[in-house]
């Protein structure tokens, strides 16, 4: 991957890639692996970007797909190599990645959501419009609006009234 491509095409969107990768990983090591894999896949798939959507939308979609694929792969590997007890045990591990404690708590709550709900709320928090989220997730804007409300309620419950 040329440093030019990384600097001009990936780095401006690194923020959202980091945010998404953080939401799908429990450890720093996994996070770095996911981030690297996303950057690599963006670079490898760059010729497939046809300009039908914005470059940023395409990156979000790709990042989500890669994270979901990696998480599925990881689950399968765990099922092969570890007992159910060990999976649950590892799942409770906390990863305090940010200096802001509220943000850490929010992330822990987001990680408790389903994989698709995580994607929806991350895009919502990035101030993406329902239409764009729907385009990325592959559903209708109405469905997204309903989902976002439901997710926010769930997050409130998970954060135990620490938020409005």
């Amino acid at each position: 991957m040329s440093s030019d491509f990384y600097t001009s095409s990936i780095l401006p969107h690194a923020g959202i890639i980091i945010k998404i990768c953080r939401a799908y990983t429990d450890t720093q090591e996994d996070f770095e692996d996911y981030f690297q894999e996303v950057c690599l896949q963006i670079w490898k798939s760059r010729d497939r970007f046809r300009g039908d959507s914005k470059w940023s939308t395409w990156i979000y979609r790709l990042t989500l797909n890669i994270c979901l694929t990696l998480i599925k792969k990881k689950k399968n590997n765990r099922q092969h190599y570890t007992s159910e007890y060990e999976i649950r045990d590892e799942g409770t591990e906390e990863n305090r990645s940010f200096s802001d404690e509220s943000l850490n708590q929010l992330y822990e709550a987001i990680k408790k959501l389903s994989e698709i709900d995580r994607a929806v709320i991350l895009l919502y928090l990035e101030e993406k419009r329902n239409k764009e989220i729907a385009e990325i997730i592959g559903t209708s804007p109405n469905n997204i609006a309903v989902r976002v409300n439901r997710i926010k309620e769930r997050l409130k419950t998970l954060l135990d009234g620490k938020i409005d």
Binding site: M1, F35, S97, D100, S102, L103, L106, L155, I163
Partner: protein, 213 residues
């Protein structure tokens, strides 16, 4: 004061360190190690399978009353195992501490040499396998009966060492084809078992080469 999730999100990321991208280093370290480990694991399983097969051929030959055929097939498999072990020993000398590109490149060179050697070996393996089967068949009761039937039904037929010439020609042609195509047969067999993982190895190597430039 309680905050909304939108506020937590916005203010949380004001800290610049929160969004520092990790350095992209040794991009393919894990992948190359995984793919090579997988090939090696598959190779080990294959060798165990071959040892079992050699034993089955040997014992099966004695039980079925065709000890020479069992012995020849078993020896062919043993030769295959020894050749694979010879190559595997060479692999042990590859320095894993070098960078992942160099490691995977050396491994790729090794596997290319391995395949070329086995393609040559297969040009003898398949014909000997076939010929030993035919020779054994010639001396079984069923084989003798069939030959006698053919010869007595066509008394004018030309014979070569007591066998109808046309059968000798067919056996010769099949053996020649097997000798010529043994390498291709080996590649076909290789692709069925290792095709996907070897493709993955090639993809990684291509990506790494592109990344270097």
């Amino acid at each position: 004061m309680e905050k909304s999730i939108e506020n937590i999100w916005k203010t949380g990321f004001i800290d610049h360190n929160a969004l520092v991208a990790p350095k992209i280093i040794n991009l393919y370290n894990q992948k190359s190690i995984h793919v090579i480990d997988k090939i090696m694991r598959m190779g080990k399983v294959n060798l165990i399978y071959l040892v079992v097969l050699a034993a089955i051929f040997l014992l099966g030959g004695f039980i079925a009353g065709t000890p020479y055929l069992g012995l020849v097939w078993s020896l062919l498999i043993v030769a295959h195992i020894l050749l694979a072990l010879k190559h595997t020993n060479v692999l042990k000398n590859i320095d894993k501490s070098v960078n992942s590109y160099q490691y995977i490149k050396t491994f790729d060179e090794w596997i290319t040499y391995f395949i070329a050697d086995f393609m040559l070996f297969s040009r003898f393996f398949y014909p000997i396998f076939f010929l030993s089967f035919v020779i054994q068949a010639r001396f079984t009761d069923a084989g003798r009966k069939i030959l006698n039937y053919i010869i007595t039904s066509n008394p004018d037929m030309s014979l070569f060492l007591g066998v109808p010439t046309f059968i000798v020609i067919i056996v010769f042609v099949v053996t020649a084809v097997l000798a010529l195509c043994g390498g291709l047969l080996y590649k076909l067999d290789l692709n069925i078992v290792y095709g996907r993982v070897l493709k993955k190895l090639n993809e990684i190597l291509t990506d790494m080469e592109e990344l270097k430039h």
